[in-house]
């Protein structure tokens, strides 16, 4: 009963925020509303028992998208009229597509139906035998890292590609470490704000600690490489937001961040190649350790480290590039 009430309630919240987004035109309120949208979506994922997905959506929605969006929008984009109804042409086309889709949904299984075909085939084996074969309670992590580990390699490469893309798109691509002289023109005087300084400087170690907890807790509860990478990235970026990007660059220079991005992908790839050299197929961890489960444990631990490294370095690199583009 609680599940149904929560589900329906959150769906209504989601719809109202989506309608609000359709109508607003000012970029700042768009970004704020999309922040609320991602929070409501994350809560809905918790209701639908997708705990890992809620974790990722929360970390990404609250951690990264705000920073990226705020680095791009400017006050002069604020339109005169705050609200506007989309053009009738778009609405008609949208409704047309909607009606077509509605017909498609009539044969779909009901919400929560145990006999739905999706649960009969692959899921039975993953839920049934993943503990003997891989030995990890969190089935999502075992499927993510081992059964479909190659998808996750593709995913890490997607994040790496995004990092490379933003590096290429960086306007003036001087790559040297931040010279002490070049003071960040936009050094916000947050450091001057005693309240923020005292609270947040003590928060950063807490966030980093929580990030590491999530990194290694991925096997037993919700968590894993991606979520940990985003949290660690957010923790490091907090110092940048507090002081300035150039001061953060003196601690963690561009070069190391780019190196970390590339190394994470290589760590993941080399774990797979190690399987090749030991005579098994690519990304087969069973040969890495004495027994199958020991090998799987080691393999999953290593690739999660690779994922965490790439994702956190990419987040920091994104922050540098967007700050670089601004000043």
């Amino acid at each position: 009963m609680i599940n149904v009430v929560a589900d329906v309630g959150l769906l209504c919240l989601l719809l109202t925020v989506a309608l609000a987004i359709v109508c607003t035109r000012s970029p700042l309120s768009l970004v704020l509303l999309s922040g609320i949208y991602s929070i409501a979506l994350c809560t809905l994922f918790v209701i639908l028992d997708a705990v890992d997905v809620a974790f990722t959506e929360a970390a990404v929605g609250a951690g990264i998208s705000a920073i990226l969006f705020f680095a791009v929008i400017r006050p002069e984009d604020e339109p005169v009229t705050a609200f506007s109804w989309p053009s009738s042409r778009a609405i008609l086309l949208g409704l047309g597509v909607g009606v077509l889709l509605l017909a498609g949904t009539l044969d779909m299984p009901m919400y929560g139906d145990h006999l739905a075909p999706a649960h009969q085939h692959l899921a039975l084996r993953f839920l049934g035998q993943s503990f003997e074969e891989i030995g990890i309670p969190n089935v999502v992590t075992s499927v993510l890292a081992s059964y479909r580990g190659y998808d996750t390699l593709g995913e890490v490469v997607v994040i790496f590609t995004a990092g490379v893309a933003v590096l290429i798109l960086q306007p003036d691509n001087k790559k040297g470490p931040a010279k002490p002289g070049d003071r960040d023109r936009f050094a916000p005087e947050l450091m001057g704000n005693p309240v923020l300084k005292t609270v947040l400087l003590r928060m950063i170690p807490l966030v980093v600690l929580f990030g590491l907890y999530v990194q290694f807790h991925g096997d037993y509860g919700p968590g894993g490489g991606f979520q940990a990478g985003v949290i660690l990235g957010a923790g490091v970026i907090t110092y940048g937001l507090l002081s300035s990007a150039t001061r953060l660059k003196r601690i963690i220079s561009d070069k190391w961040v780019t190196l970390g991005m590339a190394l994470g992908v290589l760590v993941y790839g080399l774990v797979g190649v190690a399987g090749l050299f030991l005579g098994a197929n690519f990304l087969d961890y069973s040969v890495l350790g004495p027994t199958q489960t020991a090998g799987q444990h080691l393999g999953i631990l290593l690739i999660e480290l690779g994922v965490g490294l790439t994702v956190s370095c990419t987040m920091v690199s994104l922050y540098y590039c967007f700050k670089q583009g601004e000043s």
Partner: protein, 90 residues
């Protein structure tokens, strides 16, 4: 016990709706920012109470994560506002 959880969740949803209303309508952009902050703290409560209601409190990490990372949005926001001190009559 379940009815209590039901009431709590329902009221939290209504409070969430109110803050969305303020986020949508809010005349100045600071009202919208305020609405985002309040919606986040309500959703932390919602997740925690829901996980308690369905008897799986071990997944509270999500609420903990939100409480932790929630300030990053506001910090980026305040940074943006300081950088562009245009007067608030957007």
């Amino acid at each position: 016990m379940e009815t209590v959880y039901l009431i709590v969740l329902g009221l939290l949803l209504i409070a969430g709706l109110l803050s969305i209303w303020r986020a949508g309508i809010g005349p100045t952009r600071f009202d919208r920012i305020l609405a985002v902050n309040t919606f986040t703290s309500k959703s932390i409560l919602f997740i925690s109470v829901y996980l308690f209601a369905t008897g799986h409190p071990e997944y509270l990490d999500i609420a903990l994560l939100y409480a932790l990372v929630n300030y990053v949005t506001s910090l980026a926001l305040v940074n943006y506002l300081n950088r562009n001190p245009v007067s608030a009559n957007d």
